[in-house]
Symmetry: C2
Subunit: 343 residues, 2 copies
Amino acid sequence: MSFKNFLPNRPLTVAVLGATGAVGNELLQLLEERSFPIDQLKLLASERSAGKIKLWNGRNITIHPASPEQFQGVDLVFASAGGSISKKWRNSINAAGAVLIDNSSAFRMDPEVPLVVPEVNPEKALTHQGVIANPNCTTILLTVVLRPLSLLAPIKRVVVSTYQSASGAGAEAMKELKNLTQDVLDGKTSKSKVLPYSLAFNLFLHNSPLAENDYCEEEMKMINETRKIMESPELSLTATCVRVPVLRAHSEAVNIEFVEPIEVRLARKALNDAPGIKIIEDFHANRFPMPVDVAGQDSVAVGRIRQDVSHANCLELWLCGDQIRKGAALNAIQIAELLLPNS
Amino acid sequence: MSFKNFLPNRPLTVAVLGATGAVGNELLQLLEERSFPIDQLKLLASERSAGKIKLWNGRNITIHPASPEQFQGVDLVFASAGGSISKKWRNSINAAGAVLIDNSSAFRMDPEVPLVVPEVNPEKALTHQGVIANPNCTTILLTVVLRPLSLLAPIKRVVVSTYQSASGAGAEAMKELKNLTQDVLDGKTSKSKVLPYSLAFNLFLHNSPLAENDYCEEEMKMINETRKIMESPELSLTATCVRVPVLRAHSEAVNIEFVEPIEVRLARKALNDAPGIKIIEDFHANRFPMPVDVAGQDSVAVGRIRQDVSHANCLELWLCGDQIRKGAALNAIQIAELLLPNS
């Protein structure tokens, strides 16, 4: 079927698929906070969670297992239950006439699916054919920052190292980090179950499957998704993705090579004027973004913007962003807001 | 006075200045473990610790406050009590005929003081004039890895991001990380006193003073000390130094640009054959170095050596090393071992 670009001009029937996960929970909170125009809200999750009741915006809502019938009459589905679930239900969702905003990686590199960061390429949202993909968390944070800089001069190459919190691996990983940390403090040694190794006072290279080129999937997502979102298929980007013992919010050390030297003050101004960015940069107090600054916040925090001493055309900067919020749930809702008539 | 290059060929009188700190404690343990030829061991610390007794190698040794008299008859002093203490006592130490191996940054960039990583430039140790400087921890770990690679082809530029543990800020910072983490787990909010911000499930850019160019001192140490140790004054290097909630052991994501493409297998072989390096690299199991692997270990662990997809002449790799051990105490003792006759 063919889709109208915009959602209907009335309170919507919205389904959240994966309503019990870390991102699902944040989605529900943000839908309420941002007064997203909802008439009916359906919560869908695995059989395991079916029957549970969640309080949302003063209403008690029973969680149902996903089924084709559940999508009947739905206008919009937010999915954050993983790629296989999104693939499984995409046709049912679209057949019911609902638009799918998908937080998984299932459709991100599909050339017919727009991959949208509202601060970067909002116009792409309206080209959808029933599915819009929400990018990977680290990619969202990075592109929000790269976009205004790329307007100063074309970006040639980006070298990124990430500091990714447990939240990126879900609510269970956050719980495990707390439990295993308590064990270490109690002098006990215990093994991780959710993550491959204990994150308690430890860190490790992101454990997503390795590609042929020995980059992990998380790193390849950053590379490929950044190119797609920035519409720069030739952009050179390399990433080292690392999981760190932080509960929530990801950080990134970013080295950006432009085709020519860019003055730091111009870069700072461009970032300061750009949407979705908060500069936290007090050189006098040696105070720059930290994960605790951005947990629960909408903006990507940026600081220590400086001329790279090793390369005339490069700038260095540091960013932090809430992985669950701007890195996932908020970005998905911002995409949906682009589809609202008169948005 | 002029110094003999080698230490006397007999059991030595050794003083440890800063005997109660994290590095001092590790020094004492390593001097015992490595059977360093000691006749008499003197433990020196601040007035606050004077009078305390430490057990070393079966002997009870009383801690004394440093004074010119304490250095009389001493052959070798290991100092790890900070730059101002090292500066204060350097003349007394050398006037007594003792060689100072200094862990502080006080003399590292002094052109008359060799800055030594035994795996990299051991020959420099024997050019000393009474003082040999032990490099900064992150620099030691990095140069151990850069050295064998630089023999494959000249290195043009290095981009590093660090993941530095609390141990780098001393024993008190490690204790604070544990205490503040327990507070977070107990639902309490409490403020840091040792570090400027709480590291509990948090991280921040290294808080050393910022230079004119907006790099912090820790980053400038990496840049300047690496150039001096590698004898590559033109080497381009940029670093982002980050403190992470790990108790012990630093990690580094390193991007290395050579003057020409280098095959990964050749780089891996060079690293594997080099002293002081352990390759931890199981691509099948997605298993690479972690801080917990190297805590208490002598070698720098390296893994995920891969061709940078963004630049034909670049390799990416990941390393972890024990900051207190190879990053400080072990390196200092290895320097001293270079000065032993028939070493």
